[in-house]
Symmetry: D2
Subunit: 350 residues, 4 copies
């Protein structure tokens, strides 16, 4: 299978859209054949209408695309990646699913729907089994598959490794999130230079619910939320990419620091998703350096797909404390959607 699957990127000019365009440049299975954008960009050349903000250069293949409207009509692809804003996603993504096109989306609009999986293949690959359910219930020949919010991503991966071995009861989490998580133009420079913004609208509820869905079990075509309570604070800091989360956890049974580190280091993606092109290798890196992980130094671990954990130590109130880092626009957004699409293909669901 090499570059034979045509795909499109919806909302390709924004910060996550650009990440899709950049990451798909080197993808072994997928070949981008079209990009879509908002009305004022339709018909323009991608390289002219897109204010490129990634430090990696705009791929040559994308420069001359004419931006299309976000519409399934005439689209010669059975798979699209969506970087649409949530409101637009809510309205337009079903049009694709109805038209037989599978949507791997970074948008949050459908994450809370019972028949829509929120998918991290290294965590809950089996939730992909919701796709046939979704198709049957909605009468769609395509589907919508979501990845979680960027902050939920690394958090859930680290917690999954611990939960599998020791159980999990309570999680206290405080995030220090990168500005790229807010899109472009997103955070004004006057708001973040020499500053922290101790609030991100709508973020805490996501971080307190999405991991429960992903850590939950699919039983009789329904996901039972994991019985874990989350309490969070979300902050924006002056970092370009890489969300850091301070976690304090109460496990189902006691674990020493060494046992916890072993559980994190040993963690393997489930067999169904473990050998896909985007499977992080390894899934989790645990740093011994007391000052790591750091966004600038560690975000590109495993090409930005690996979750990096450090400072694993005992806690005074719960069981363990640790710091988790995940690249928010790669593993936590575009890279995550691509990984999901690979699972979809691998399962024969495309």
């Amino acid at each position: 299978m090499s570059k034979e699957i045509p795909v499109a990127v919806l909302g390709a000019t924004g910060s996550v859209g650009q990440r899709f365009v950049q990451l798909l440049a080197g993808h072994p299975w997928f070949k981008v054949v079209a990009v879509t954008g908002s009305e004022r960009r339709v018909g323009k050349k991608f390289s002219e209408t897109c204010h490129w903000i990634l430090s990696e250069p705009m791929p040559e293949y994308a420069r001359d695309f004419k931006v299309l409207p976000t519409d399934p009509a005439g689209l010669d692809a059975h798979l699209v990646f969506s970087a649409l804003p949530s409101g637009v996603a809510k309205e337009l993504e079903p049009n694709f699913a109805k038209a037989g096109i599978s949507v791997c989306t970074n948008a949050g609009a459908y994450r809370r729907e019972a028949d829509v999986p929120v998918l991290l293949p290294e965590v809950n690959a089996d939730h992909i089994d919701l796709v046939p359910v979704q198709r049957r219930k909605r009468g769609w020949s395509g589907c919508i598959v979501t990845n979680p919010n960027c902050t939920s991503t690394g958090t859930t991966i680290a917690l999954k490794a611990l939960m599998d071995r020791f159980g999990l009861e309570k999680v206290f989490g405080v995030s220090l999130q990168a500005i790229s998580g807010a899109g472009y133009p997103g955070v004004a420079s006057m708001d973040i230079l020499d500053n922290v913004i101790p609030h991100i609208a709508g973020e805490e509820p996501k971080l307190e619910w999405e991991p429960r869905k992903m850590l939950g079990s699919l039983v009789n075509e329904e996901i039972q939320l994991a019985d874990v309570t989350f309490s969070t604070h979300c902050n924006r800091v002056a970092v370009s990419d890489g969300h850091l989360v301070c976690l304090t956890v109460e496990l189902g049974k006691k674990a020493s620091v060494e046992e916890a580190i072993a559980a994190l280091r040993d963690y393997q993606a489930p067999a169904r998703s473990g050998s896909l092109p985007s499977t992080p290798k390894p899934v989790i890196v645990v740093s011994d350096d007391p000052g790591r992980p750091q966004p600038r130094l560690d975000r590109m671990t495993g090409a930005g797909m690996t979750t990096v954990v450090g400072r694993v130590r005992e806690d005074t109130l719960f069981d363990l404390r640790m710091t988790v880092l995940s690249h928010n626009t790669i593993r936590g957004a575009a890279g995550g959607s691509i990984y999901n699409a690979e699972l979809l293909v691998n399962e024969g669901l495309l």
Copy 2:
């Protein structure tokens, strides 16, 4: 009483030392008559040997001081402010206390000594009563009075307001600390630009113990630590001044968000310390803006002496969550020591 009390600043060329020099410029009671520094600076003109890093200009009064050695001999002052590094403080501060000079220090060297108060006058002014005990036990005519670590400062002030009204059992705290807290040169720019450092050596034990001493009771000449358990994560972020702490607290009895806000807003410094020149007015400001407090916008509230609290909200694991900001080199360091000295003077202990 106007500018009649001669004082000296020990370790005046570092970042906290400079803050002492700057804040004392306008002080109504204290007049700086000498500054001390490390061996290589002794004899040099302050304005020439000190690499000034504050955005406020170096006060005129200090420019021509010759830097003295850190030695009580010949010092014409009964009160000194210490910005010495902890190791040096441990060795040299007792020399002053023995020589009849009271030391109001920002250094941590003696904070854990039973007869040395860790003082925030708006919280535990009565702990100043340890001074006579200390003098008697050690045979000193001077004394050592400490202020807490900068991160403990705002945290303890906010917690005190809640504890007084509702009791306090457990505290989760995650700090986002400014670079000025590490002194000068301190944090290398390569380490913090586009980055977070998720560890500050020795900081978490301080933040988990110092508030317990300050929130504790002085009974029979001994401080009984408050029976509160703290769990913390300390992070360094790219902010010049102002430490932000995300707090989640379990109280002794339930309190609504409104009741908690009222407790914070109503909080008054004890009568013994409530009308000193540095008493913050008000002690605590509670912001209604969901995106505040922010270091750049709020650190100078009350001339940098007021603690700013925001985002007071219910919690899912404990009772309440909130964000606390305090200026780390003013309220949390030099300004705090000056406030302590004012209490010392007011109590007739100089």
Copy 3:
């Protein structure tokens, strides 16, 4: 004269508008009686509709203002300060001037009009004599008085001091400009974190022309541009406030470094503008520190109204090199307009 002159701020919710509101809080002559804003803000409370970005708190006096439309009708003030965007200023400012209201504006829309002064009172106070000309020609009872672009401000003040004593022929200038110069939200954080933007649309032509008008002579009711050639590069850097400009100048006659420093230090505002409330004291500070001026350390010199010059040294191609710093939203914007208004009042032109 104390607080008796009622004024309004046009476009009060933007970054320069906020600076007007903040600086006028303590002004001895002017009392803000109204603020205006764009259509979507009209009728709202200032404190609720304005996203305040200054580190100084929003003044109490302004919090409860209802935002008015930008219209002279019903406005009880003969003087307004304009922080309108240039396009809006072009359309609306004349309405005020016609209605008998004098407009001291930071907008650039009218700077190139022959009968509109571009005014820095410490440089070209006599250009205020264009006001009666403007009134006569246009039939206005009010007037429009502009201050220059923020980057032209410090540059022109420093050059004026040199030109008066040695003449001035050629100027190379490279700016490193603060983000607040772009307004709010202005520069996206993704564009400036760990970055420089080597271009500011429209800025170089301003910096190459405006100083020539201000350094020019008013002869027979017309300004003759100074015969000086400017060549510039304008860059945006990650600084909150304070524009730095590297200048290399060819003078009319040779001057030693010492003579140049003396000319800068000795420079006095013209008698007509030298004792107004906003007159910088001193007009220019020359730093001896080879690493100064620096934006963070020096921008607030003279309450942000003083121009700071440093690194005065010989040049290899022209005569002299130096670095100039000026606070771009105080001296270079709102503070400059207020200073202009003071001159207008002092000249009896209100």
Copy 4:
């Protein structure tokens, strides 16, 4: 030739040393067999004593090296890369050259020696002919070959392309330099956050002289400095990597903007150095985007070896203006020394 040439890195733990270690990991010709460090690090494991600051991870090959003293005795390599500080380099580099080891150094200690080439292979590959002269004069069997200061690097490459076609008379240059140029810990974060430092000790003289040597001609075993006058200002800005230089140039004969862009785009490295592993491909990129080059977006062009030029436009005082960007620790330091070493090997001079 594949990985058969053993090399060592002198001063491997600093910021440029780390860059050598990182870049040599994938080098087709060179294999690092040893690293040296200062006395306090000798005998320690590289991965334990080196505070790694690059965002690329420490290469596996280097982790277990024991740090050696900086001494040729016992070193099994005929080529070393030096990242030594200038003072140390001055003393120790000749020891290697005497011992038959060729030193490709980033240090500036020997750049002004008449028989030591300052080499940018894409500019002055022929200056390598000084190596036999140096060996003969000094009786060395090894040699010292330097690359220029990081700020001179991109500047000289861009100027060479223009000079070859139009001649070159005068250059006005203002740099905005990254913090990594100052090594580690280098610039204190308190000095650069929300700030610019308008001075870098010793930098301007280098930038005004080194390009003249590299643009000069080697005649009768001597380099005749190019007859070009430089005038510069050097500034430090809050950027991690990538030095930006604003250039204004007077050419030998007039050139239009289009002709200048063509000269830059057409520029080829000399045949002697044009097909080495590190030869930038292309040597120069000219951006059409008016807001480029930008450090964050463009520094990695051509794996950090390509010089990026933008904003080529007419000037008012000289002929042309433009902005030049070069990665200061890759093309401007370690990558440059490696490129020099490749030329040395290719010329049979090892």
